[in-house]
Symmetry: C2
Subunit: 333 residues, 2 copies
DNA sequence: ATGAAAGCGCTAACAA
DNA sequence: TTGTTAGCGCTTTCAT
């Protein structure tokens, strides 16, 4: 391992002080004289010494790493979540170690075990539904844990998210108010994306109660993408020619659907209205901005990291944090 | 830190063997009897023991973490690169620790120091131009290092990438062959995105030599995005009404430009042709697929991780790896 | 096949 | 203000 960057004792020898003094200087303790501090710093410089945090973490039982587990890197919402996390951690000197489960509960379980073996200071994990082993490991872990994205009343430790059922309901209310009554749904990742399921549930409840009707439904068990939305939108329309509005599981698929309409010259929203969920940049940059619900990914990242940091600093943050959402009135409805 | 997951010695006590025997079992050494092994495994199970890799890394001077430094998470090419890295590392039992520099050389320097303090087994860092401190730290580090994305003849250690100048030249050649002569360029991130600069250089050289002409150029020193492309494309067109084809720094901006044309009813490619670089999914899902050059992000991720692993396994991988690129004939030229 | 001793590089706790 | 002692949890090396 030797870094080319020596050890504390080499620095100590060079500065002719004890290791403890070097340790104190490096950790910014104040009880070191100016002279000594200068001498130590000089030695550090001249040796190009970089402290070994593994050793520090082992000795102090305090790691500066946070484990973050997400389902995918290819869906831009997760990198955005990560950005919030890393931005928040950076100021506090912590680092994120990320693991990608690829939407597999088994891989998630392996990852959690691997992460815990590094004794992270905290754990941030997406979604609220996990493998039993994961629940056991996390429950046993002394590290603060945040489940992020969905809101649960019974988090393992803490949770930060939004109410997806309400987000679906809000969209439905909006569409009903606009006069739409005959709806279709196009979803993907059904197995893995429980949150999308909750949105659809809220949507369906609301349109049903409001006198609307679900006249077509198409679900695809593949990761969502623009291309997938574009491909499957046509099939959906074919199912029932009298669809007035389509609710899609997220902006990626919805953007694909809209591109299909643009390419085929189908007038939106006159012939067919489109609404979805995410609030991605791309959806708002389309010739017609999407009607959608913005989920606060970056903010949820910041909040979840902050909850962990708060706990590490001895505070008592709330178990459940509702990050909210925002309905965006686009031109597709 | 105590994990709720005990220590080796607790397991050893439970199984009534020495710590060494437990260590051997856990690391899959073969010189342990079946009986003993079974007893140890049982103890591990019953205690819910998860080994402490920090201690292992310290004792063996072998970390299982790789540092990965990227400029941003919001540009999908970097998550795709990461996906290749994590997929490749996973099988070998290594983990990626990511750092995000936000396109700042200073932040990159801080990050590299922070990373090295964890004594990673290897380092993967994007781009080929770094802060002098970074070069010093990396040069001094005993860990295998890969600079990824761009091709350099003089990597600090190894590099994996593509020749951006040639990618620009290939695009130019194609456009010249199609008969375009009056070109414009729209770029962003000029300071930070050296690779885009190289592509433009190759593009400009080639059109000039081929009888073409650069009649307009617009550069924006902001991170690229679809929205930005859409906003700035109009300005560019206004600069010179006789532009025949526009080369954009990447597919995000180009998609924005194309959306502008779709929204304004400007016929592409008849009135104006569009070409760029990346090969993003979104560009190919547009009503008109973009003419672009696909950079092999995922593959470069795999390759760079593999180079590091090879070195860790005592092999002598090549210093320079050309991952190549692929010209995509879209409908926008 | 198994164990004992020593130590990785650092920090906590206690002394001086 | 500075130093000493002990040990974090594991692996290496050398015995047996």
């Amino acid at each position: 391992m030797s870094t080319g960057s020596g050890t504390l004792s080499e620095v100590a020898a060079t500065a002719r002080v004890s290791e403890m003094t070097v340790s104190r200087v490096l950790r910014g303790k104040t009880n070191v004289s100016q002279k000594t501090r200068a001498r130590v710093l000089e030695a550090v410089q001249s040796l190009g010494y970089v402290p070994n945090r593994m050793a520090a973490a082992l000795a102090s039982a305090k790691s500066m790493q946070l484990a973050v587990i997400i389902p995918s890197l290819r869906n831009i919402v997760f990198p955005e979540l990560l950005a919030g996390i890393t931005d928040t951690l950076e100021g506090a000197g912590y680092q994120a170690v990320i693991g990608v489960s690829e939407y597999s509960l088994k891989r998630e379980a392996k990852l959690v075990a691997a992460m815990i073996s590094w004794r992270p200071a905290g754990i941030i994990i997406t979604n609220a539904y996990h493998h039993p082993d994961v629940v056991n490991l996390l429950t046993a872990s002394p590290a603060p844990i945040v489940e992020v994205m969905e809101l649960t009343r019974n988090p393992i430790d803490m949770c930060v998210g939004l109410n997806h059922r309400k987000a679906g309901a809000a969209t439905a209310t909006r569409l009903l108010k606009k006069g739409y009554r005959r709806f279709a749904y196009l979803g993907c990742d059904l197995e893995a994306d429980k949150a999308a399921g909750k949105r659809f549930k809220g949507f369906l409840e609301t349109i049903t109660q409001g006198g609307g009707e679900l006249v077509a439904k198409s679900t695809v068990d593949e990761p969502s993408s623009v291309a997938l939305g574009r491909r499957h939108f046509a099939d959906l329309l074919a199912q029932s020619p009298r669809i007035e509005a389509v609710y899609l599981s997220n902006d990626a698929v919805a953007s694909g659907a809209l591109m299909y309409c643009l390419a085929e010259g189908i007038p939106v929203p006159e012939k067919i209205a489109i609404a979805s969920f995410s609030g991605l940049e791309i959806g708002q940059a389309m010739p017609l901005p999407l009607t959608t619900v913005r989920s606060p990914r970056y903010k949820m990242g910041c909040l979840s990291a902050q909850r962990v940091l708060d706990r590490l600093n001895g505070k008592k943050p709330p178990r459940v944090t509702d990050a909210g959402f925002e309905l965006i009135e686009g031109a597709t409805t």
